[in-house]
């Protein structure tokens, strides 16, 4: 299923160079380089505290890096504001779902279209033809997205009322409504049961096939990582310790050491079987 060399046919979507982020005396990310190519699902894994989320936050503009640069589609986006980065085409979801709880599911998705529309104060008050056309377009996009995630029947329900798994999908749909070229998912399977996780994996694969999309994942569930990734990057202690196709990473002694410590005798039979079952 996976090849040993990276499929580099697609052009580079995201690239970092010497990315370094320091919190006080702690270097959370140190000289981190990576590349993501168009059409890939790339996973970023590593033990807790490895700096994965920090990398996400630097890429999405929540933190500014001390050193290094981030390039998106060849454009330097280092230090740009989060909402600007979204408008360039990077959308994200959060580890602990962050929806707009009292707004309806449809309104949640419409929020994603904000950066793709332009009606100002006067246009909105006086309902100019341009504004009305734009609203219709937003409505159409939101409706097609909500159908895509099978929540059409809940479109007018406040987002806080729907099931947890549905909330995850809604958050992804909101991110997709920003029309991104790169979708960044922070632990999309956390809190989902195995069946929902399977559905999520299928959903992600469909996304890559249907939309012109690239996905970057942070994930703890090795099942998901091994199941959907084209490329895996392993972080430990703020540095990249390995990268490669999933199977190669799975057998990399350095990775095993990072996760389980130096003593090779410790094994996790559970995980072993799961991966074999999938691969």
């Amino acid at each position: 299923m996976t090849e040993n060399s990276r499929n580099t046919k697609g052009k580079v979507v995201l690239q970092t160079q010497g990315l370094t982020k320091v919190f006080g005396g702690l270097t959370a990310v140190s000289k981190f380089d990576f590349q993501i190519h168009q059409g890939e699902i790339c996973s970023l894994i590593g033990p807790n505290g490895a700096g994965k989320t920090t990398v996400f936050n630097v890429v999405t503009g929540i933190y500014k890096p001390e050193y290094g640069e981030v390039f998106f589609m060849g454009k330097n986006i280092t230090g740009k504001k989060t909402h600007e980065i979204v408008s360039y085409g990077i959308a994200r979801t959060f580890q602990n779902i962050r929806l707009f709880p009292d707004m309806t599911c449809l309104e949640n998705i419409k929020a994603g279209q904000h950066c793709r529309s332009s009606a100002g104060l006067w246009a909105s008050i006086f309902r100019t033809p341009h504004q009305r056309k734009e609203e219709r377009h937003i409505q159409e996009i939101a409706e097609s997205r909500i159908r895509q995630i099978d929540l059409w029947n809940f479109r007018d329900e406040p987002a806080k009322n729907i099931a947890y798994g549905s909330q995850r999908r809604l958050e992804i749909a909101r991110a997709l409504a920003t029309e991104p070229a790169l979708l960044i998912l922070d632990e999309p399977s956390s809190g989902l049961n195995p069946r929902e996780t399977q559905d999520l994996m299928k959903f992600l694969k469909n996304l890559i096939a249907e939309d012109d999309l690239t996905i970057l994942l942070i994930e703890h569930d090795m099942n998901v990582v091994m199941g959907v990734s084209d490329w895996v990057i392993v972080m430990d202690d703020g540095r990249k310790i390995a990268e490669g196709p999933p199977l190669q990473i799975y057998n990399d002694p350095l990775v095993i050491e990072a996760y389980l410590g130096k003593d090779d005798e410790i094994q996790e039979p559970d995980r072993d079987e799961q991966v074999r079952g999938n691969g």
Binding site: H83, A91, F94, C115, S124, Q131
Partner: protein, 332 residues
Amino acid sequence: MKHNAFLRIKEFFTSRPKTAFAAVAVFIVYPFLVSDYYIDVTFYFGIYALLGLSLNIVLGEVGLFDLGHACFYAIGAYTTAILNTRFGIPVLALLPVSAVAAALFAYIVCSPIIHLRGDYLCIVTIGMGEIVRLALINNPFNLTGGPNGVFGIDFPSLGGAIVIDSSIEYYFLIWIVVVLSILGLGKLQDSRIGRAWNCIREDQTAAEASGIDVRFYKLLAFMLGAALAGVGGNIYASKLMCVSPESFTFWESCLMFCIVLIGGMGSIPGVLIGAAFISLFPEIFRPFAMYRMLVFGAVMILMMMFRPGGFWPRKRGAVSFDPLLEVRGRDD
């Protein structure tokens, strides 16, 4: 029985054309049927409705705790008072000027504090309100007349063409402004700007990550809220014919806050209910003036216990139960 009646009233008000027609008819006929006293009471109801609407943008739509909103009201009133008494510019012509002055003031003062969240912003806005009031008392550049304020403001007029000098005319002036504001704000609620405001209220970080320029939309809300309060200040100043710092105390900001909370955050009908309560309540309870605040406090406490979302919270979406039934019906 009582609940039934409540539902029927609600049903009536949610069928739009009937409501609009009934409301317009009542408001046009009403001032010709009652004495000047009641017209004035309704005028102040209108002023508070306008102030409530203006704070509702900041507090209700965006969720920014602004306890100094009276300062924008003051800026509007003093702009009108000073420009009218010094330069004789007609009051109605100063209406947009007051709005712009208040909005500009909001932009300058709020720019550096806009990133503050929750209670921190609340405390800074209290300070903002107090600083403006104290500055007015201290009579900067001999402009504000110190504690006595500014006297001799004209009737609202537009260079002799339109002159507003009776209670009925003031009544129509304020309510036309209120109705126009309601129409405009209603349109805004149902647009990308209204949605962006609500997103910020619900979750600021998620809003930013969904591509909404949080800082810009917060400032926009403050400026628009200030502009409306400035318009309120203009009409208030010409009605009273004088302005003094006493009219713009912290208590006034609190009243505006109560209007929004009583009615329901982000709800335009709610603001009207809140404003009616705040302005009519003291009149009704005039004979028991001593116990007024006691009853007022008790009502607030009871409301927080039994209707924490306000008397008329904003309804979202079209239907809430049908979709669930639909799912069950389809059985998938």
